[in-house]
């Protein structure tokens, strides 16, 4: 059952002399219980994408495209950032765990209080029920000493704890979709895996849909159902995880997979030549062409139209059919 | 007689009762027609600039304190307008013994203190004891020097005995307000200064203190026990403390304040204009007061004076060891400086006509004043330059500044900061002396520094200040050699001739004899010019026109507060709003 459909989402910042395109033509659909991994290097627009789904971009950003939430059939025109529908969606349908978890807590309020504030907003209950529910949530995210954590201030939390409390906060509103921006990126790999495992269990228990923003392909391959590969504000490839793992359709995806494989096989890692382009710089044609081994003339001038697969999955490359 | 610093006034006695046509600036509305029925009631609001420090006659220094004391307390007798006779107050009559050594006062028997206790001769004796008690340090102690004893003959009779027969015996005896013995005898003299009595006085005067709100208002109510029956007429007098001059005048204009004293001459002009044109009910009142301003020249060399002090030398050393001042040691220079100043212009500029010229030491309000006795140095810059040239001061290097032996004629002229009039005078003096090539730097100093340090140490060049004068001419604290080391004798003037005349004038048997010596003193001092007298000031006050029968003259404004009244048809909101 489809939960969210994103169609032709675009974000840009108008400036005096030029317009900076942060996102262009992003489309994907998300089913209940599905985990979508968004993959891309830093600066490709992943975080902007997350915020635009929540309608939280700064006022001077211009947006286009539409979002449809199938739970209550709301269709949101992204042209209007202040669409009142966002208010019904934030928290109750979509919630988000930010990359900088500590910064996402208000430093002056106890963790428990902040959870209760979310509960008050979305779940009607008596103060005692709310407190019980909050403690339950803290336990749910794998913290044993829940009562203690409840009374702690954010600055008293350790890194791992703050990740989990942030998750508890995001889950407090009982959302259908959880967006996690670089989850547990600040933790060591063991703690990170534990965290992601817990997230998966939770998802399975509650049929929660997840959008994981990741820059580590390995995590994406392990924890997601489908993957959305982004580059320079564009979607390059959107397919099932297994398909991408086996037959990456885009040269960029392939390069990423190759690097991952080389790491796994303890070979010397290969690298993608060239540099990640700045989002502020407009690259004509396919933005990957300066680094692409298969580039041809058309790549320099025209962005490749998507080639669609089932379930709105697609790849954008002039050479897709040629290479197959 | 007393001279005091910074407008600390005693009672004002003056001669010219009405200045009206003399200056022709405004018409006085004369006293209310006598046949009019006097009506009781009403409120007078008096605006004052500083909070009175104490309503105890022993410690009061400021004008506003003294005014309130005049309302709350009484003396044995008050001096008359002619400065010769006295009006009985607490004493109903007195006689002088045939050998001129005693005065016997017969006291009123119907007088009560404001707390109900009867007034008796004990109070008079007690007051005298306070007056001469060194611990109290009453500032009028000098009046009582000639009194050998004060004794109560019975409850209503007091006898004052004197050491010497002076012309001033009666005025010395009645000087000072009578204090309530039954209250103050319980307080040790050391603690009097801090006693509660100073804020909650009990007197015998026409009004009694009702409330005192700090830095805001002091309310006096009619004394129902007042010994003159049917008086006072006013129900209450409120003193409103308004430190800002502008604010004060504004409230006067708005009718929130009825009486203001010591108005700046410039502001007074506006009041005159409005009154003359019938625009305002505020009546201007002016009379020759007690104040005059002058430039004092330091006639001795500060350094040699300091050395003399350090060596602990006696008065005689004046003659031998102290050098004359390098600038003002010469009479010719002082005369030249006097002639270089257009004193008439200065007077008119700062006083807007509210002053009269002054050329000698005797104040124009005194009986011994004789303008003809003074030597007058008219404005004459040419002659001034000539005098200076004779003393060696010429502009030899052409820099427009006079010099002598390569030393330019430059000096500092001090005055009290915050005194608008004197600051102006200093600025004008600077400009006028610059015209004849003398460079003057005005310096405005804190009063405490000026009077507390520089003047007593004779460490200055020239100073612009003023004196407030008393009843009889007495210049010895200023010029007599016996006071050479005291703070008030800052000019360092020394003249054997003056010493002689001063003593002769004091001991003269009668007024006519004394007058001769005072004329000589006036001539001597106006020639020697330890001061350059600038002008004699007129007091500028204003009162709302509805108050009738205010007698004001040289003695001041508070001569008959118990007689002031307001006709019923002129009463204002404030006269009615107060509940009895």
């Amino acid at each position: 059952m489809i939960l969210l459909a994103v169609k032709n989402l675009a974000v840009q910042i108008p400036q005096q002399d030029k317009t900076i395109h942060l996102l262009k033509d992003i489309s994907f659909t998300l089913k209940r219980g599905e985990t979508l991994a968004i993959i891309g290097e830093s600066g490709c627009g992943k975080s902007t994408l997350c915020l635009s789904i929540l309608g939280l971009l700064p006022q001077h950003f211009q947006t286009a495209g539409n979002l449809t939430f199938y739970k209550n059939g709301v269709e949101i025109q992204l042209q209007d950032q202040t669409d009142p529908h966002f208010n019904n969606i934030r928290g109750s349908i979509v919630s988000m765990v930010f990359q900088d978890t500590l910064g996402s807590f208000n430093p002056l309020f106890r963790c428990g209080q902040q959870i209760i504030d979310v509960l008050k907003e979305h779940v009607s209950g008596s103060p005692i029920q709310n407190k019980q529910r909050a403690i339950q949530l803290i336990q749910q995210v794998g913290l044993n000493d829940a009562e203690d954590v409840f009374n702690k201030y954010p600055h008293q939390l350790s890194g791992g704890m703050s990740q989990r409390v942030a998750l508890a906060l995001a889950l407090a509103s009982n959302p259908d979709l959880l967006i996690a921006d670089e989850p547990a990126s600040s933790l060591d790999s063991m703690a990170k895996n534990q965290y992601l495992d817990m997230l998966r269990e939770l998802k399975d228990k509650t049929n929660l849909a997840l959008i994981l923003v990741l820059h580590d392909l390995n995590d994406a391959l392990r924890f997601s159902d489908s993957m959305f590969v982004m580059y320079n504000g564009r979607g390059f490839e959107y397919r099932k995880k297994s398909d991408i793992q086996k037959t990456p359709a885009h040269p960029y995806t392939r390069a990423l997979i190759d690097i991952q494989n080389s790491l796994n096989q303890t070979r010397l890692p290969q690298q993608i030549p060239g540099e990640v382009p700045s989002i502020t710089k407009l690259i004509p044609g396919c933005p990957f062409h300066p680094r692409c081994s298969k580039r041809s003339d058309i790549c320099r001038t025209t962005f490749p139209p998507p080639t669609f697969f089932l379930n709105n999955h697609f790849v954008c490359c002039h050479h897709y059919f040629k290479s197959n | 007689m007393i001279l005091q610093i910074c407008l600390l006034c005693l009672n004002i006695f003056s001669l010219f009762s009405c200045q009206k046509n003399h200056h022709g600036q405004f018409e006085h509305s004369d006293l209310y027609p006598k046949n009019q029925q006097i009506q009781d009631g009403g409120t007078l609001v008096i605006g004052i600039r500083a909070e009175p420090e104490s309503i105890n006659p022993l410690f009061a220094l400021s004008q506003s304190s003294r005014n309130i004391i005049r309302l709350v307390f009484s003396r044995l007798a008050d001096i008359n307008e002619d400065l010769k006779g006295f009006t009985p107050r607490l004493a109903k009559s007195w006689e002088i013994s045939t050998d001129n050594s005693q005065i016997t006062f017969h006291l009123r028997t119907n007088v009560h203190w404001q707390d109900g206790t009867p007034f008796t001769s004990k109070d008079v004796v007690f007051t005298y004891q306070m007056h001469i008690n060194p611990v109290v340090a009453w500032d009028g102690m000098a009046y009582k020097q000639n009194i050998s004893s004060v004794e109560a003959f019975n409850d209503s009779t007091v006898v004052f005995s004197f050491y010497e027969n002076h012309r001033s015996m009666l005025s010395d005896a009645v000087e000072g307000y009578i204090l309530p013995a039954h209250i103050l005898q319980n307080i040790s003299p050391q603690n009097l200064f801090t006693s509660d009595f100073n804020r909650h006085p009990i007197g015998t005067g026409p009004f009694q203190l009702n409330s005192w709100i700090d830095m805001q208002t002091i309310t006096l109510l009619k004394n129902k026990r007042f010994y003159e029956s049917g008086k006072p007429h006013l129900d209450q007098i409120i003193f409103r403390i308004i430190p800002d001059n502008f604010n004060l005048l504004n409230q006067l204009k708005a009718g929130e304040v009825d009486l203001v004293e010591s108005i700046y001459p410039k502001d007074f002009q506006a009041i005159i204009q409005n009154w003359n044109h019938g625009h305002s009910d505020i009546r201007p009142i002016s009379y020759l007061g007690r104040r005059y301003d002058f430039i004092g020249w330091n006639m001795i060399d500060p350094e040699s004076y300091r050395n003399s002090i350090d060596r602990g030398e006696s008065q005689d050393a004046i003659k031998y060891n102290i050098q004359p001042n390098r600038l003002f040691g010469s009479q010719k220079v002082r005369a030249a400086l006097t002639m270089a100043l257009d004193r008439e212009a200065i007077m008119n500029t700062v006083n807007f006509g509210m002053a009269v010229p002054m050329n000698g030491p005797v104040s124009p309000i005194l009986p011994s004043y004789n303008e003809a006795a003074n030597i007058v140095w008219e404005y004459n810059p040419q002659k001034a330059l000539k005098f200076l040239a004779e003393q060696g001061w010429t502009d030899s290097d052409g820099d427009n500044i006079l010099d002598k032996n390569g030393i330019p004629f430059k000096f500092e002229i001090l005055t009290e900061s915050g005194n608008l009039l004197w600051e102006q005078v200093a600025t004008i003096v600077q400009a006028q002396l610059a015209d004849i090539g003398i460079q003057v730097t005005p310096r405005f100093l804190e009063p405490a520094l000026l009077y507390g340090k520089l003047l007593p140490a004779k460490d200055f060049d020239a100073v612009i200040i003023g004196w407030s004068v008393g009843l009889t001419p007495d210049f010895s604290p200023l010029f007599h050699s016996s006071t050479f080391y005291t703070p008030f004798h800052f000019t360092g003037y020394y003249s054997r001739e003056y010493d002689r005349l001063d003593e002769l004038a004091k001991t003269a048997a009668n007024d006519d004899m004394a007058q001769k010596y005072y004329d000589k003193i006036a001539q001597l001092l106006s020639n020697d010019l330890p001061y350059t007298w600038l002008y004699y000031r007129m007091e500028c006050s204003a009162v709302h026109g509805r108050f009738k029968d205010i007698i004001y003259d040289r003695r001041g404004l508070y001569n008959n507060p118990e007689d002031w009244w307001i006709p019923l048809d002129e009463r204002q909101y404030i006269d009615k709003v107060f509940k009895k």
Partner: protein, 276 residues
């Protein structure tokens, strides 16, 4: 979301501050050209005249040209403000540097002293000293400086404290440089930004304190003048003699705003986080 470019802004407050101060400065510099009259020369018959063609800003009680006095008084005001700020900045910087670099009990004592000095209500104490002492311009400058250095000292100290432990200082230390050299060559330039900002803001504070004192009759003494004392001259009748009270007040206001704007602008320009 740091990757997202911010809307670029021109530094308006810097520009308008500089223009304001520049205009006042030009007025003070070229003022004498506007009026040939000396600020002390009196015309007693023309006392308190409203603005006219011969006196563009009217005359005061002594018939002195108000425009000339505004120029002269403004110079005094500026000189006092800048001189005492300069002194306060020097005192504050030296004390701050010294305290931070020495650390230990010296730092403790110095910081206590700063606490004490900050606990003085400034106007109160300056009023006390200037009122009790002989009022002279140099005393005024000294007193204002002596009660203004604490903020600077605090800023310098905290900046130095944070710089002190940075790697680059450790590395120059490792190179064997001596302390004073490290302080003056390596640390001082880094604390300069915040110090400049707060000293520009200090100028406005001092102008306000000085004019308050002069207004109370305790600051600059006649016949010299400052804007505060000219305002005090106009106190006799603030609206009646508006040419005494209004221009002087506006000039104080403009100057203070100007310096505040420059301070804020510099703050933005140098991208300093918190200076309070």
């Amino acid at each position: 979301m740091k990757i997202l470019p911010q809307k670029t802004q021109t530094n308006q407050s810097m520009t308008s501050g500089c223009i304001t101060i520049g205009l006042v400065f030009i007025f003070l510099l070229l003022g004498p050209l506007l009026t040939p009259i000396n600020h002390t020369s009196q015309n007693l018959s023309a006392s308190l005249q409203p603005p006219s063609s011969s006196h563009w800003m009217g005359t005061d009680y002594y018939g002195r040209d108000v425009l000339a006095r505004l120029v002269f008084g403004g110079r005094i005001t500026w000189i006092i403000a800048i001189a005492s700020t300069f002194m306060a900045v020097n005192i504050g910087t030296i004390i701050g540097l010294f305290s931070a670099y020495q650390g230990g009990w010296i730092d403790l004592i110095v910081m206590r002293l700063v606490d004490v000095m900050l606990a003085f209500p400034k106007l109160f104490v300056v009023l006390l000293i200037v009122g009790l002492g002989a009022s002279s311009t140099s005393l005024l400058i000294w007193v204002l400086a002596l009660f203004s250095w604490m903020e600077i000292a605090r800023i310098v100290r905290s900046e130095v404290m944070s710089q002190k432990n940075r790697t680059y200082i450790k590395s120059v230390r490792a190179l064997g440089l001596r302390t004073p050299r490290i302080v003056f060559i390596h640390i001082l330039p880094n604390v300069l930004g915040p110090v400049i900002v707060s000293s520009v803001l200090l100028i406005s504070t001092i102008i306000l304190v000085e004019s308050s004192l002069s207004f109370l009759g305790l600051g600059v003494q006649a016949p010299s003048a400052s804007w505060g004392s000219i305002l005090n001259d106009g106190r006799i009748d603030p609206l009646g003699t508006w040419w005494l009270s209004v221009p002087a007040g506006l000039l104080i206001l403009t100057t203070v705003i100007g310096f505040n704007l420059i301070g804020n602008g510099l703050h933005k320009q140098l991208d300093l986080k918190k200076i309070v």
